[in-house]
């Protein structure tokens, strides 16, 4: 099977600005990897370099072990789907899909068969004679996908392909691309700034910020064991608490909160050797790991309810603690909703805080 992709020490300078800082990433054949980050994180630049539309200032790009840095984009034989569909407006759907085949000199009979196949994969069999302008956004993106797949590229590159679609259609297209990925066993490199999308569709997520790789891992790893504060904050919501390191219980860290309470924390990158007792810490706790509790005696903390926001499947409440920090707590659909202005206590729902702590 082909389609393995490697970034090896890839860097990109624009003038003196380093947009991509020494990125290493190995993607297995048949793997679906998302490059996730805010704008300016370098994720699109990485994809453009893979496509051949940008050139790395240093480092190497490998597809199936061969360097492609010196190969022009039109000879790389990779598939690409852009954010804005980029269908050729003067060609019919069938002519659009035929385009990569005609430039490769594929015979007309072969073209017809492949176009029919590609249209079947994206479930738009009867649309061959339409012009792109006559299609909806979702349909246009499916055709762009068909055009990118019709020449059987080993790797499919996708640059925020669903960002322009409304939420319902976006979810539908996410399921669709997962189905196609499994059906064709494709390697997909998918750029997105939408963390929910990245978690939903990928085998692994590569989180980038300011041109640097922050963490590479499965969606579960990224969410439950973020490597640093940025990842914790970017993937879902998080509360930060300050504490001091009290000691180690085997591999679990015991942190001492300012009010004297001790909690057990997953230490992530911290090691006992590097973090002796007394080290100042920043502890990240997901809102859904906190709960409002009746009894304030043994609680993690307490605060005044600022506001509660109803979000359908859950309600989030923001509390302001005595130290002035805001803490977000998720309460279940059936739990009583605290009144704004009331004073409530909150506690952990779990024994060990599964998120992380870092030296502050």
């Amino acid at each position: 099977m082909s389609g393995a992709v490697s970034f090896v020490g890839v860097r990109k300078f624009y003038g003196t600005v380093e947009a991509v800082k020494n990125v290493d990433l190995a993607i297995k054949a048949g793997e679906f990897v998302s490059l996730l980050g805010p704008s300016g994180s370098g994720k699109s630049t990485l994809l453009m370099m893979l496509a051949g539309l940008e050139h790395p200032s240093a480092g190497d790009l490998l597809v199936d072990g061969r360097s492609i840095v010196k190969v022009p984009a039109n000879k790389r034989n990779l598939g690409m789907v852009f954010q804005k569909y980029t269908l050729f407006p003067h060609m019919t759907v069938a002519q659009n899909i035929a385009f990569p085949l005609t430039v490769r000199g594929v015979s007309v009979q072969e073209q017809r068969r492949k176009i029919a196949d590609a249209l079947r994969v994206v479930r738009l069999q009867d649309f061959g004679d339409r012009l792109p302008g006559q299609l909806s956004g979702g349909q246009q993106q499916r055709i762009a996908l068909a055009r990118a797949l019709v020449y059987d590229p080993p790797v499919l590159l996708m640059d925020e392909p669903f960002a322009a679609l409304d939420r319902k259609l976006r979810l539908e297209m996410q399921d669709e691309i997962r189905r196609i990925q499994q059906e064709l066993n494709l390697t997909i490199v998918f750029v997105t700034h939408d963390q929910e999308e990245a978690l939903r569709i990928s085998h692994r997520v590569a989180v980038l910020a300011e041109g640097k790789m922050q963490q590479i891992g499965t969606p579960k790893e990224i969410y439950e064991e973020p490597a640093n504060g940025f990842v914790a904050q970017f993937i879902g919501n998080v509360n930060f608490l300050s504490a001091r390191l009290d000691g180690w219980d085997d591999k679990v860290l015991v942190a001492l909160l300012p009010d004297g309470r001790r909690i057990r924390v997953n230490p992530q990158a911290l090691r006992p050797s590097a973090a002796p007792p007394g080290t100042p810490l920043r502890i990240a706790i997901r809102p859904e790991n906190l709960a409002i509790c009746e009894n304030s005696d043994n609680a993690l903390g307490s605060g005044t309810v600022l506001e509660c926001v109803y979000l359908g499947e859950k309600t989030t409440c923001v509390l302001r603690t005595a130290t002035g920090a805001d803490v977000t707590v998720v309460i279940g659909a059936h739990d009583p909703k605290p009144q704004p202005g009331s004073h409530v206590a909150f506690d952990l729902r779990v024994d060990t805080v599964p998120v992380f702590a870092e030296a502050a």
Binding site: G52, N74, K75, R76, F82, T86, F88, P100, V103, R147
Partner: protein, 266 residues
Amino acid sequence: METTPARMLSGFEWLMLALAIAVAAFLILPTLIIVPMSFGTDGYLNFPPRGFTFRWYGEFFNDGDWLRAAWFSLKVGVLTTVVSVVLGTAAALALTRSRVPFGGLMQLVIIMPMILPQIVVAIALLLFYQQLGMVGSIAAFVASHACLAIPFVLFSVSAILKRYDVDLDAAAYVCGADRFTIFRRITLPIIWPGIASGALFSFLISFDEAVISFFLSGVSDKAIARKFFEDVELNVTPVLAAVATLLTLATILVLAATAFLKSDRK
């Protein structure tokens, strides 16, 4: 689509409509008056004309001088169109697509002949081509008319290029196309309406152009506009009205073709 229900025009709208019609009539009527004059039987220009005859059209088509001038203007027009389309499109691509040093200044230089008084341009060109001994040559005409026509091609092609999504070219490139194929199969078909309307305008500008043609015409190789000037001065007959009518008709046809192209694009 919702349709607006039909309703009566208000007094103000009636007034505006009447004003618009009056302005249009003011602009068009003097041109149209020449049409009935070309069919009058009198041997001089007369309004209102008396009688009805095609005689003056017949004289035009039998007059070697007129036909030579028309043929000369036609050749100049076609060559001017070709030159302007190629150079104007290239300039539009360069100015919108890449970072040309002094791009703004360059654009200004290109459209300069359009802004300068035509008589100034004409005299400058006359002196220039006199030095080269090229007065009356087709090359001098084509080069001079192209100066006037290139800005129109530049504008009409740039207008489309500014809305052109360059990611289309990137997509075609990743699909496996080389630069030439991208230009031929993607860029050219998309900017084609701009090129076509630029071409029609180029031809009209060259064919109808009078001032430069007056100065650059030779004794035997003269543009139709120059022949017109000469006959107005020396030989006023309704043939002039017939020629004017034919020119007006040709112009209307070309403009109608442009309008058709534009509606087709939508």
